[in-house]
């Protein structure tokens, strides 16, 4: 009788693949809307028209811009005046240190943010100036000259003191762009910094209390505690995270999460860090996977050869 096995195999594979397709790619496509990335172009923000001068920018940041009134700049020798949980309790939110802002954030995003924070961050639905709900950061109204030039100068200064792009590690990218609101316990990251190791339990608990106080402030400011991101690269996929970072409103309309304004490269580094936390062994998995596949193909070939030998007598 003729060998029906190829046909049988085709039937089995066909029905299995149909089932897989319907249950996985198709169903997930129906359940989750697809958001297209705009490549971190921030098309809604105006292009920068002026070339900034870092020296003038420094004067403005330290002086008329009044940035250092709230923001620490470690890189310029101006450390934080208060502990983070004290700052969060005083201002409602902890103003970030600006040392690396020039490397982490997109230039025209920074320019827009300096002038109108709620607009750049896309939180105008929460901080509506007309209703008297002021963003904690006061916008820069200009120092008497061309405001666009002044803002460009300030951005140029921030870029000059920041680390170079190649020296910005994935961990630094995450801690700067996300770490003030999101903990990442699997990397020992709390919103007030990496938790040190303490010899005495008393000191460890004291640190934990500071974290909890800080989290209370964020909860009050954001409406709920931003989630711990340790496993988010696996509970949400990369495409979701990337488009969420680009514009949170696209996925979570009405959310209090601001558009953070990172560049495309920095977004990639943030995702890399999330993979380090939630998919740590991926490189080992790829490497061992290749070796196992090669082995198992050899195994299958030897099994086939053995079968052919044994069955020579049986036909």
């Amino acid at each position: 009788m003729k060998n029906k096995e190829p046909l049988i195999l085709a039937v089995v594979v066909f029905f299995s693949l149909v089932t897989y397709y319907l249950v996985e790619p198709y169903a997930h496509h129906v359940m989750h809307k697809h958001v297209e990335s705009e490549g971190f172009a921030y098309a809604d923000l105006p292009e920068m028209t002026k070339t900034g001068d870092a020296t003038r920018g420094q004067d403005l940041v330290m002086g008329a811009g009044a940035c250092v009134g709230c923001h620490a700049i470690e890189a310029a020798g101006m450390p934080a005046a208060m502990e983070p949980q004290m700052a969060a309790a005083s201002y409602g939110v902890n103003p970030p240190d600006l040392s690396n802002a020039g490397a982490v954030y997109d230039a025209k995003f920074l320019a827009d943010l300096i002038k109108n924070p709620a607009h750049a961050l896309k939180v105008e639905h929460k901080f509506d100036a007309n209703k008297g709900q002021m963003h904690p950061m006061v916008g820069f109204y200009g120092a008497g000259g061309d405001i666009d030039q002044e803002v460009a100068d300030m951005v140029a200064y921030l870029q000059s003191i920041a680390v170079k792009a190649e020296d910005l590690t994935p961990a630094m990218a995450f801690e700067n762009a996300c770490g003030r609101c999101h903990a990442m316990s699997y990397e020992n990251w709390t919103q007030i910094g990496t938790k040190p190791s303490f010899k005495h339990e008393k000191d460890s608990l004291a640190f934990d209390i500071k974290v909890l106080e800080y989290q209370d402030s964020i909860k009050a400011y954001m409406g709920k505690l931003p989630p711990d991101l340790s496993m988010y690269i696996r509970s949400r996929n990369e495409q979701f995270i990337s488009t969420l970072i680009e514009n949170p409103q696209n996925h979570l309309a009405g959310t209090a999460m601001p558009r953070v304004g990172v560049t495309a490269d920095v977004a990639e580094k943030v995702i890399e860090h999330m993979k380090d936390a939630g998919d740590t062994k991926r490189h080992e998995r790829e490497a061992i996977g290749m070796n196992v596949m090669i082995y198992i193909i050899i195994f299958a070939i030897f099994a086939l050869l053995w079968k052919k030998q044994v069955w020579r007598d049986l036909h």
């Binding site: 509970s235 949400r236 080992e284 193909i297 086939l304 079968k307």
Partner: protein
């Protein structure tokens, strides 16, 4: 005391005490298998291999898993996935194998239905096999609770709510099963016990029963032909291996088994290393939160078809039909009234259509079970459920009318 002689070799010593030669003949070299079979006959061995993978990977997970609501998620996603050397490998193998085993079970089941391998003389093979399906389902469900993610918690909540019996409002029973008002430590602890000890013991026993039930009737063949195993095995042993209709289990059948297993493992390990999302759903990578139901909640793919039979109907009717769907397959040998033990395609149009419709319909039910309960999916699912019920009611009728071939 039986008579023992001085042993001539280690083999002879063991043989006098354990009859190892006889055992080897009965179980392996003189366990006669028809030659007229195809690779689908190897699914049993594929299941044994997959079960062995689950057992071994499970052993290493068990070394590091912490069965408490506070510690479970961390022990799986941090300790095992990040800290334990090769921990990620055991976890991926275990998760993928737990899902793929059901694909093989369904292929194995439908092979049996197609070729009539449940009919006269082989009913116990079918019944023990269906009991194994139930045991594996319980094992999969209890295992899914253990990572204590969002899906673990809410699947546990929903499935144990079924026990209230709809309008019966047997809430006391639900609380008793859980050991608490909601899935909490007591719930996790007992499902850990079930998953690690009780159900595996039951599975091992049922596998023994399944093999025992197979031994006397012997394996079926592609034409359903009744073979005289004594005559054919004599032909083989007299030297006419090519002319005999049967072959040895070991090594004739085993060599083909191993070939199929080899090809299967290529596919299996590809999934383990690169395409495991279907087996480890993203929702379960959120730690369990009793105060927040996920936006989309669904069982694992292999439960979707019966989930979809429950969903379209009102609570009591849904539960009744769900219960019906769980047990009806067991009665197949008794509902099929025809005397024909031949492949479905040769049993006349009615049964052939019944078979392919059942297969396609279960795929439709599976797909609808995953899709959100809105139109058009809920409508399609409703009719698919009706077709499923109707097919089982129709089965005794169409098989009674089937002509003897």
């Amino acid at each position: 005391m039986a008579h023992f002689t001085k042993a001539t070799s280690v083999k002879d010593w063991l043989n006098q005490r354990l009859a190892i030669e006889k055992v080897e003949k009965v179980m392996a070299s003189e366990y006669w298998i028809p030659k007229n079979i195809n690779f689908l006959w190897a699914m049993g061995m594929v299941l044994v291999i997959t079960f062995a993978l689950l057992l071994v990977s499970g052993i290493f997970l068990l070394m590091y898993y912490v069965p408490t609501t506070e510690g479970a998620f961390y022990s799986v996603n941090y300790t095992i996935m990040r800290e334990v050397d090769f921990g990620w490998l055991w976890r991926h193998v275990h998760g993928v194998a737990a899902s793929v085993v059901f694909l093989i079970i369904y292929i194995h089941m439908f092979t049996g239905i197609y070729y009539g391998s449940y009919k006269k003389g082989r009913e116990m093979i079918w019944i023990s096999g269906m009991l194994l399906f139930v045991a594996f389902s319980a094992e999969a469900f209890s295992g899914y609770m253990l990572p204590w993610g969002q899906m673990s918690y809410w699947a546990g909540m929903v499935i144990t709510n079924l026990i209230a019996g709809g309008s019966l409002h047997a809430d006391f029973l639900v609380e008793w099963i859980r050991g608490d008002y909601v899935p909490a430590q007591a719930f996790l602890g007992r499902f850990f016990m079930l998953h690690v000890l009780l159900i595996p013991i039951a599975i091992l026993g049922l596998i023994g029963l399944h093999f025992a039930a197979l031994r006397i009737p012997h394996v079926n063949n592609q034409d359903g032909e009744e073979i005289d195993f004594d005559a054919e095995s004599k032909k083989y042993l007299d030297g006419d291996k090519a002319g005999s209709k049967v072959m040895r289990f070991a090594n004739d059948f085993m060599s083909k088994d191993m070939m199929v297993v080899g090809i299967y493992l290529v596919f299996f390990f590809y999934l383990v290393f690169w395409n495991y999302g279907f087996a480890m759903d993203p929702v379960n990578f959120d730690p369990a939160d009793g105060l927040k139901t996920p936006a989309h909640i669904y069982p694992e793919w292999y439960f979707l078809w019966s989930y979809e039979i429950l969903r379209p109907f009102s609570v009591d009717l849904g539960l009744a039909l769900f219960g019906f769907a769980q047990v009806i397959f067991v009665f197949l040998p008794f509902l099929d009234r025809s005397p024909n033990t031949i492949p479905a395609n040769r049993r006349g149009k009615a049964f052939a259509i019944w078979f392919w419709l059942m297969l396609v319909n279960m795929i439709v039910l599976t797909a609808m079970g995953k899709l959100p309960p809105e139109d058009p999916f809920s409508t399609v699912g409703f009719y698919a459920a009706i077709i499923f019920i109707a097919q089982w009611i129709a089965l005794p009728i169409i098989t009674t009318l089937e002509k003897k071939v």
